[in-house]
């Protein structure tokens, strides 16, 4: 057991070194990498990617998948845009509205999973298509691009004069809350127990259905958070929002050591994984590598991450 924990610490440290290596390399090789403007946008992009990763990480922790992370993030972003632009609601209310919508959509996923006992893959594949379809039908695929300044300026504001967006603080707050959830709260431990062995969890008297419900609700709320962060940064709620989140949602947790089969999560790992993801995307673009090839690179990174994870676990021989 301790061997496994040690191995995971070493893996996280290695990930940190790799990320630091990329930062050093790009600082030297890519002109403008260390400019305040670039660091600001890099970290803000990372904050959104990490929050998307959190939404998936939570579902992975109970051994489920949530293919609807992008659909929920996009749809709730549109809900917020509609609430602010059409209904004229203050941003605070619109944010609560979107978070509630995300939670409800997550609950919907969970209810379908627990009632029908259908694999979360199929359920969320189908609901992703339902949610995105409904959103496109309702909005006629028109963006909401006149968002209030007070909302869009939130993501532009620098924290204490550093090139750090408010969104980074949001992400860190979410991260701390999740760390606390998995480390200290019984719900978090129950989620991991369900993920490690659902049958055993049920046998030992855990209400698995309740855990699944809360988990998917949380995943939906996190997807909505990411959607809100993205529309604040983009200054517009676009119907295509979330359509390209699938890879990102898996890459950050997978690099960070979250087990795709459930039962083991790493919040710091997901954060570092997301920073690495954003660093690579940003830096390769700056050194003049075509955006399209970066897609190949990210695909390879995901493959390497899962294969390395497999190898280290086999070498460690320790069950999480």
């Amino acid at each position: 057991m301790t061997g496994g924990a040690l191995l995971r610490q070493v893996a996280l440290l290695a990930l940190l070194f790799v990320t630091a290596g990329f930062w050093i390399y790009f600082s030297v090789a890519a002109a403008g990498f260390t400019s305040d403007f670039n660091l600001f946008s890099l970290l803000r992009f990372a904050a959104i990617q990490i929050t998307i990763g959190f939404a998936q990480m939570v579902a992975l922790s109970i051994g489920d998948l949530n293919l609807a992370v992008g659909a929920i993030g996009g749809a709730t972003g549109m809900v917020a845009g509609w609430a602010m632009q059409i209904l004229g609601l203050p941003p605070e209310v619109a944010v609560l509205f979107a978070l509630a919508a995300g939670t409800l959509l997550g609950f919907g996923n969970a209810l379908l999973i627990t009632w029908t006992r259908i694999n979360s893959f199929i359920v969320t594949l189908a609901t992703a298509s339902l949610i995105t379809g409904a959103m496109l039908i309702l909005t006629h695929s028109d963006p909401f691009s006149r968002l209030p300044d007070s909302f869009t300026s939130f993501s532009e504001t620098e924290v204490a004069g550093l090139p750090v967006s408010n969104l980074v603080l949001v992400m860190l707050a979410v991260g701390v809350a999740l760390f606390f959830l998995y480390r200290n709260l019984s719900l978090g431990r129950e989620m991991l127990a369900v993920g490690a062995n659902r049958r055993a969890a049920r046998m030992s008297g855990l209400s698995v259905d309740r855990v699944v419900l809360l988990t998917h609700g949380l995943s939906g709320a996190l997807a909505a958070t990411a959607g809100l962060m993205a529309i604040s940064a983009d200054h517009t709620a676009s119907p295509s929002l979330g359509s390209d989140w699938l890879l990102a949602s898996f890459v950050a947790p997978a690099i960070g050591g979250t087990l795709l089969s459930g039962g083991l999560v790493s919040v710091p790992g997901t954060i570092v994984g997301g920073v690495l993801l954003a660093t690579i995307s940003n830096g390769l673009l700056l050194v003049g590598i075509d955006n399209f090839w970066i897609t190949v690179f990210l695909g390879v990174v995901l493959l390497l991450a899962v294969v390395l994870d497999r190898v280290t676990r086999a070498a460690g021989g320790a069950a999480p």
Binding site: L125, G133, A134, L302, V306
Partner: protein, 332 residues
């Protein structure tokens, strides 16, 4: 698994009835449904998407999945059109190269899954971005226009309302059905999907089964990509970008189980017919095209809920607890 397979004819029968009702309703409500051109266009879309669905079905039958079907189709179309347009390679040679590439992509997926024993979902998610990225890196999202006339006229060729392309799909579908039911390797593939542990203990060639299923998947994806390229008359980098949903919708509505062990070719065909009826019906009533996405999602959920309800009804009737249903269900 026996239980699921024995249910499949029921699924197919239900789908057949729904398809027929749908056709009758459409022809009465919108007579232009029966127009030669509409039937041709619908049939052509169906011939392409059916191959996409079968590409997923063959991998699902192993209890695995392939998220890279669309990326393989797109990459193959780009390579073929690029070879023809940019390098003037003769059409047959370019097509052979493209189809081989599809098989190679499939084998890469298969080898990764077999070697690493990692969830095929994540692995093929990774390779799908690699294949799609190579496609975009080569093309910079710009199509190869003006592909040779032999190819683009093949995309428009028809006898009456019957698209010539459909002949390719029909032949491949029959070959796949024959392979699964008549060829030893095909039977072994289903056995591996049904119970990998039992298959290993009884010495079945798991590696060969895995590689074969993924190679077939890549090949079908490549043919579908080639056919869409012929239909569009150009090598579009976006070919395959929207195939994930239909690829799963067909087999799942058709009665396949994610756990593997069943390969409902007929169910998949009928499910794809239903999807193209919905697609065409929405066009004919000039509804918002976004309804297609919504309805396919609803259809997947509806189909699995229905299938699941029936199983649990059977369980309730036999008074078997869910935990023991598997053993009890496979004995009769």
């Amino acid at each position: 698994m026996q239980r699921l397979r024995s249910l499949a004819p029921g699924v197919a029968l239900g789908l057949l009835v729904i398809d027929l009702v749908g056709m009758v309703v459409l022809s009465v409500a919108r007579p232009q449904f029966l127009s030669t051109y509409n039937l041709f266009v619908t049939g052509r879309d169906l011939s392409i998407l059916l191959l996409v669905a079968l590409a997923q079905m063959i991998v699902l039958s192993l209890g695995q999945m392939n998220l890279s079907i669309g990326s393989i189709g797109g990459l193959v179309a780009i390579i073929e059109s690029g070879l023809m347009v940019r390098y003037g390679i003769p059409v047959p040679l370019a097509l052979v190269a493209g189809l081989l590439l599809g098989i190679v992509c499939g084998v890469i997926n298969g080898l990764l899954v077999y070697w690493t024993k990692i969830n095929s979902f994540v692995l093929t998610l990774g390779t799908s971005y690699v294949f799609a990225g190579i496609n975009l890196g080569i093309t910079h999202a710009t199509p190869f226009y003006h592909i040779p006339n032999e190819i683009s006229s093949f995309g428009q060729a028809r006898v009456g309302a019957f698209p010539i392309m459909a002949a390719v799909t029909i032949v491949l579908t029959l070959l796949l059905a024959g392979f699964l039911s008549q060829v030893v390797l095909g039977r072994q593939l289903l056995a591996v999907g049904g119970n990998a542990l039992a298959a290993r203990l009884s010495g079945l060639p798991i590696r060969r089964a895995t590689l074969t299923a993924h190679a077939i998947s890549g090949f079908f994806a490549a043919v579908a990509g080639t056919m869409l390229m012929a239909q569009l008359g150009q090598g579009q980098p976006t070919i395959g970008a929207t195939w994930v949903l239909p690829s799963f919708a067909g087999p799942i509505i058709g009665g396949a189980a994610l756990a593997g062990g069943s390969a409902p070719v007929l169910g998949t065909v009928l499910a794809m017919v239903l999807i193209s009826l919905i697609d065409d019906g929405l066009v004919l009533v000039s509804a918002d095209p976004f309804w297609v996405q919504f309805l396919i999602g609803a259809l997947i959920l509806g189909a699995v809920v229905l299938g699941r309800t029936r199983l649990s009804d059977i369980r309730a009737l036999l008074r078997i607890s869910p935990g023991t249903a598997h053993h009890a269900g496979s004995s009769p």
